[in-house]
Symmetry: C2
Amino acid sequence: MAAHGLRTGEVAERAGVNVETLRYYERRGLLAEPARSIGGHRAYPPETVTLLAVIKAAQRLGFTLDEVAELLDTGRRRHPTADLRARARAKLAEVDEKITDLRAIRGSLEEILAAECDSLTHCTCPACPMPFADLADPAASPPG
Amino acid sequence: MAAHGLRTGEVAERAGVNVETLRYYERRGLLAEPARSIGGHRAYPPETVTLLAVIKAAQRLGFTLDEVAELLDTGRRRHPTADLRARARAKLAEVDEKITDLRAIRGSLEEILAAECDSLTHCTCPACPMPFADLADPAASPPG
DNA sequence: TTGCATTCCGTACCTGGGTACGGGTTTACC
DNA sequence: GGTAAACCCGTACCCAGGTACGGAATGCAA
């Protein structure tokens, strides 16, 4: 009996993360405490692997673990309460901002790829414009 | 004489970063070593402020300082060599991936905001789908 | 049931990205 | 020319996010 549930090693391998990371995420509240065998070994539901991929993806985008936790929490329960809706809206704004910034970077990179500066042979680019200047917002909002 | 150039305090304040951070970035190679006064005090060109904004923006997107340095280096010299072009292209791909992921998150958030689950009063959402599942890529490429 | 791989837990350690400290110069203003 | 504010440098510390360690207990297979 009780063959259901993946063990830590399996989950870790499938998700491509360290075993310790699972325990760490559990402590951090990103992973719910899984069921346990009689002897106390964890038995994870298979979706855990997907969840870990989600977490890692969100992290790559610059979300902190706390933010990821919040994001997941918001997403978990559909039909959010007013409070949750507000958080979702806030996250949405953040995400939009990130997308905007990324597009600016993207534009600069494409420009660079396209640029020939009139001629590769003659141009020493004495006064090349600031790279990514279109991205930099002088009125940067302070964190907090 | 030598009133040209901003001092560390000015740059730091305008860019909204700590003075120590300037020295740190200099050590890391993100900021070029600025000119110095006779007495050894740094005199920064005004574009430094913009550059710092760029760095901070890129960081918010999940780029490491090393990556930012690389990005800047790529962007600095227009009409890149073949090698530089390759790096720019690689970055471009990364950026596109990030944008794709962010759009997935964005979509989920909007869904959440739009969702009423038929009725807020009756739906207990017994089997709500995985949040952000569209973002998780099971074939996640291992780092390195 | 013996035995080896896994897992358990707590704690210590590591890297990245800064920030703070402290004692000594340099500037800038009166 | 005196003095406070700003700056210098090296070094030590801090937080986030993991990762490693090590000794005991469990799981599974022959």
